[in-house]
């Protein structure tokens, strides 16, 4: 990991080395390439744009052939989504996402400490154990979880989702936090310990402030995965604990027009994560690579 060169810092947007600029001096070629890039990006983005457009249509406009690009926009679909009780779904999603993320961070920080700064024996095995749970197909354990949750009377309970989302994101978080801890200079920690600070004090006063950006980046990834999670929500919730993805599924009916309303619900459902991802693009890269890419 330490061989990976720091990337985002200087090179990205601002200070381009002069040599590289010389290379793409050819004005026409460069402009064509820029145009091509833009067209490609717009084409790739088209489905999202279409979803947003559709969400402002009336149902009849949404299901027209050929597709309508110009129409009188309306907020009716958004109103309908909220009238159908979107608030409850959103609140459940917020609880499941926020609480599970807090729990993940609380559990991951000490664990990451124990596999990086003062490592336990068999650190590697511990790490591989964590990541191997991430690869298990969830579907293989859904039945036992369902049956046990039923016995404990916690089906359709948002705290069941909190528990499972914590378990789902914890391995990722341990790996990520570990990579951030490894960047902390040893001398700082040793100095703190020389001063007689205990382990917990060192952790809270010295370590955590230093890796605060890392915590933010870890939290972002956990939020994304928890917010978008569908499989557990589908099988373990019904009315009280249903989250936003379930709202989307129940917007679909076997007959009748529902396209515009579904689009409005989709936009609402995706918005929080899309915004978070747009704002924190740099943290995203590091999070997605489980800390391996800096």
């Amino acid at each position: 990991m330490s061989t990976t060169v720091q990337t985002q810092t200087p090179s990205a947007e601002t200070s381009e080395p002069p040599v590289r600029r010389k290379r793409k001096g050819g004005g026409a070629g460069s402009a064509a390439l820029t145009l091509f890039t833009w067209l490609l990006a717009l084409g790739f983005f088209m489905p999202v744009l279409w979803m947003v457009l559709t969400s402002f249509k009336q149902e009849a406009d949404a299901a027209s052939n050929p597709p309508k690009f110009f129409f009188t926009p309306t907020l009716d679909q958004y109103k309908a989504v909220f009238e159908a009780g979107a608030g409850g779904y959103l609140w459940n999603s917020v609880i499941a996402t926020v609480v599970s993320t807090i729990l993940v961070i609380l559990l991951a920080i000490p664990a990451a400490y124990a596999v990086s700064i003062r490592p336990v024996e068999k650190t590697k095995d511990v790490l591989f154990f964590f990541i191997s749970t991430k690869m298990l197909p969830v579907v293989a354990v859904i039945m036992p979880i369902y049956v046990v949750a039923g016995k404990l009377k916690v089906l359709d309970n948002i705290w069941t989702l909190v528990f499972l989302y914590t378990a789902m994101n914890l391995p990722l978080a341990v790996w990520m936090m570990r990579s951030f801890f490894q960047e902390v200079p040893r001398e700082v920690l040793e100095a703190a310990q020389m001063d007689g600070a205990s382990l917990m004090t060192t952790m809270r006063v010295v370590l955590i402030p230093m890796v605060a950006p890392g915590i933010a980046s870890t939290a972002l990834i956990c939020v994304i995965f928890a917010w978008n999670e569908f499989f557990f929500a589908l099988n373990l919730t019904a009315a009280d604990a249903a989250t936003v993805p379930i709202m989307l599924v129940s917007t679909m009916t076997s007959e009748g027009l529902y396209l515009a309303r579904l689009s409005a619900a989709s936009v609402l459902a995706s918005l929080p994560v899309v915004l978070a991802g747009w704002i924190a693009q740099k943290q995203l890269v590091r999070g997605l690579s489980m800390g391996a890419i800096k």
Binding site: G150, D156, W159, T201, A238, A239, D240, T253, S254, E255
Partner: protein
Amino acid sequence: MRNSTAAPDRVRGRHRTAVRRGAWWQALLLALVTGFAMTGCAASADETKDEIVVAIVSNPQMQDAMELQDEFAKAHPDVNVKFVSLPENEARAKITASVATGGGEFDVVMISNYETPIWAENGWIENLQPYIDKTEGYDDQDFIGSIRNALSYEDDMYSVPFYGESSFLVYNEEMFEKAGVTMPENPTWPEINELAAKLDDPDNGVSGICLRGLAGWGEVMAPLSTVMNTYGGGWFDEDWNPTLTSPETKQAVNEYVNLVREHGQPGAATSGYGDCITRYSQGNAAMWYDATAMVSSIEDPASSTVAGKNGYAPAPVMDTEDAGWLYSWSLAIPSTSDHKDAAWDFVSWMTNKEYIKLVGERFGWERVPPGSRYSTYEVPEYREISQAYAQPTLDAMDGASQESSMTHPVPYEGLQFVAIPEFQDLGTRVGQQISAAVAGQITVDEALEQSQAYAEQVARTYQREEGQ
């Protein structure tokens, strides 16, 4: 939430005691406790009101019921209803899993005459007869006889019908006139085949017939099973030997698959009830053999271009007198429910005579849930709009019995299904094979041989029981 503010406080404090070692635990514990406290609050907030959770299939008639919630709330201000509404397959999966494992998420579930006797026997759903008997004016004798029987176990009703259906054949009279053909009074499948060949007009986007091809025991296997029955084939013989590769079954399946492949709708392998509604009501099919409940959609002038132009014939036959199926979407109360009285309040509201009037007056009479009560067919407004199909529907439902629709006795209940727990799975897997044959990916013989293998796995259990 509180733990996030608690942590910095402790950071600032400089005590060096054992307390701090437990800080993570404390924070964790705090988070959990706060969490459970919050659920506690949420649960106790509605203590005064009975809250019931109702799981239904999101078909149009059920959506109407959801829209009429205000009316229920007016009559029962002390009951708070929450709906979980999902498409058929998803709803069935959730409801079955919940009821079978005692998950207890639901107080009212929508099931059918397939599940009712099995679940009643397992003790998973409440006996509704005591509730029915003490509810004045509910009149369970008004339920259509064959449906009432199908939803009973040991003479007590365990679920009550929201709507009921058999199957018949609808045809577009204009197209028949134009083609110069007429529908026989009691058509046979070879006659239907001939008619479909004459009416098939792919250049104008009209197929001779629409038939379900979508995998699923509630999709392609429903009409196909009735064809198998009338040809003298079927799922199992009297001794539980699977008969999916018998000459009769093979002939029936070949007839069905060839008909839909040659003169049926394009893309039939993914076409189910919903798709056929759209095609037939947009004038893209000349005939359609399916559920009698179709009338609510194809006779509704608001969404159908063929409303009022249709003729109805009984389910096509071969070696039997009748061939229709029998099905009902009905409401039951799982034994795990903690609010059984409130649940019954809701169930009886949604299945009584007044509800039918309410729908008729609020949304129009063609939209009332059909096939559940005789009294529906005596309402003058409904009789007027349903002239063309009311009698065919009642006839089909009365004729839907094993005696008149099968050539030989079978050891199970059911017409278009086999009322054993394993059938849901078996029917779905066989449906997948048939669907693949409709798509042309495998031959009918291949599909049936694999199906026979699946059926043999199931049959073993029952043959063993017989042997004992």
